[in-house]
């Protein structure tokens, strides 16, 4: 039991709580002698400040909240690692919550964090999220908020993303340059900004290369952009459009599903159909054929988001004005065997 309090130390030493507190916090107006006595006894009793009391006094929790769609996810795990690393540096703790891609959960998790009075919130939106009142609630509580990856463009806060549109544009341009002409796109669901942007990048790349955009070559992966989606849509596209020679997938997990299907039915990758993923999950480098993909720097996104959030928390604490940032981190094409 470590329930030593300032009071106990004060009593044992026959001095006031105030003096004990000052000694421990290195105030100058305490004599060396008392200070040392206090520090020694504190160490001996293994004193640590009661964080509940400190929170109440200082009105900060030294804790931030993180809401992500799902944890079992290569990209988000990497984001979290980046966040934890930054938090650790600053002696902050991180409470992690999942929205499970549900708008209702997302709202609930926000309430939990707000009630807990975390000092700031990091979020990537769920696929269902199409309105943003709940985010404005955060801002109205005056709690710093940083959005990353799946963001709301219209909400007034800092954001960290990649340039999804450009990344997709480059990706599809790369396919075209390699000679692929009939390129299907397996897109994400309709709401998330990043799936919209990747789709727009795809479309623009086709147009800029004089390939007529054909909406029937676009398949939607609306079940969390997962493996099954890729598998099932691959089956469909092969039936409906045997003429395609490449598929650009919204994310690696979908691409892995595609590859699995193509492998099963004996369609050669990339000679018959090329597959290009997005995100560079670890798994992509160990499947056969190894997946070509776009590197999306999850760890860096996490670090940057957290670092901006902590800056804003500090600015707020010092009553300084906050200037919101919109950061876009660089991506690159990773060419492997599937293209």
């Amino acid at each position: 039991m470590n329930n030593t309090t300032l009071k106990q130390i004060a009593n044992q030493l026959g001095i006031s709580i105030t003096t004990v507190s000052k000694s421990l916090k290195g105030y100058s107006d305490v004599s060396e002698k008392t200070k040392n006595a206090v520090i020694e006894l504190a160490n001996q009793l293994n004193y640590t400040p009661n964080s509940f009391a400190v929170n109440l006094r200082t009105k900060e929790s030294k804790t931030i909240g993180l809401i992500i769609p799902t944890l079992v996810h290569d990209f988000f795990s990497n984001v979290i690692q980046g966040i934890l690393e930054e938090a650790e540096k600053r002696d902050y703790l991180v409470i992690i919550l999942q929205s499970n891609e549900k708008f209702e959960f997302e709202k609930k998790q926000i309430d939990l964090l707000l009630n807990k009075r975390v000092d700031g919130i990091l979020m990537s939106l769920s696929n269902e999220t199409g309105e943003f009142e709940h985010l404005k609630t955060i801002l109205s509580h005056n709690t710093p908020l940083v959005l990353f990856d799946k963001i709301a463009k219209l909400v007034n806060c800092s954001k960290v993303t990649i340039n999804d549109r450009k990344a997709a544009y480059d990706a599809v341009s790369y396919l075209i340059k390699k000679g692929y002409k009939k390129i299907a796109h397996f897109r994400g669901s309709y709401l998330p900004q990043n799936s919209i942007d990747r789709f727009l990048g795809y479309k623009k790349a086709l147009e800029d290369n004089n390939i007529i955009y054909d909406s029937s070559l676009v398949y939607v992966c609306d079940n969390n952009m997962d493996f099954e989606n890729g598998y099932e849509n691959a089956k469909k596209v092969v039936n409906e459009h045997p003429e395609i020679d490449a598929i650009f997938a919204v994310t690696d997990l979908v691409a892995v599903g595609i590859i699995k299907y193509l492998n099963e039915v004996g369609i050669a990758i990339p000679t018959q159909i090329a597959v290009l993923g997005f995100s560079n999950w670890f798994m992509s480098s160990v499947i056969s054929p190894k997946l070509s993909t776009i590197d999306q720097p999850g760890f860096k996104i996490g670090r940057k988001s957290a670092s901006i959030l902590f800056d804003e928390i500090n600015l707020k604490k010092n009553n300084l004005p906050i200037v919101f940032q919109s950061i876009e981190l660089a991506t690159s094409i990773i060419e492997r065997q599937s293209t």
Copy 2:
């Protein structure tokens, strides 16, 4: 800003804080009229109790801590999901920390959680952890502790694991039954209980089947049992022991490394060398050949660990005696293409 306090409500209504508090908590000794007035105003002002004050008063944080070796990890992500699900049910929040497989970090993270005064701690030990004073610190703080997966047998607390020794025994017996005779084992590092137990299961299965145990067929994966380890050790074993016909890997990630190497050098799986993994990571079902493995129920382990922890937290709160449990969850062999 949502800084409504009991005091403000009391002032606006011209009554005492006590009465407001009682009304909101449904005490019987408040007149219907005042109670309703209070509740109405509270809703209107969007009152929520200040959790800092509640924590200080009640001495509980409604928060638990979780320390795992690493987050970017199929098994641990699944564990976390199980934990979050149980926590959510009980309105508990979860602070997640990584040890990065370092003993020093593990100690530090424990201190952080203890200082934060979490109501309980869930842990899976790092590969470096060979002494357990830091765990006893937790217990001496009277903070409930549940260990899972990588546990310390000698520490007096509840534990949730699989029966690693039996699972490995069954796994190797299965290989033998399929006709494999020269079976190498890529084991984990020397300290973690589960890597010891898997090794012992391997050895026992050989002996029970009249295969002489050959220590030179055991390779250690001491770099976090990762992909590279599997790859490098596969290279070694093929050189040093070309006669082997199967490899039993301590975990899927290692197995995936093995498969990658064997594929690269054109060794046929399973006809020349069979590969059996452990843990059933998602990835294992999508690589080629699909990996045979042992299913280790991460989600269930997380749920069970959390549920035991919450039970202990409640018992402690009610000053009831706690009986520590040691739970072993069932595993099963998943036969795919690599064996």
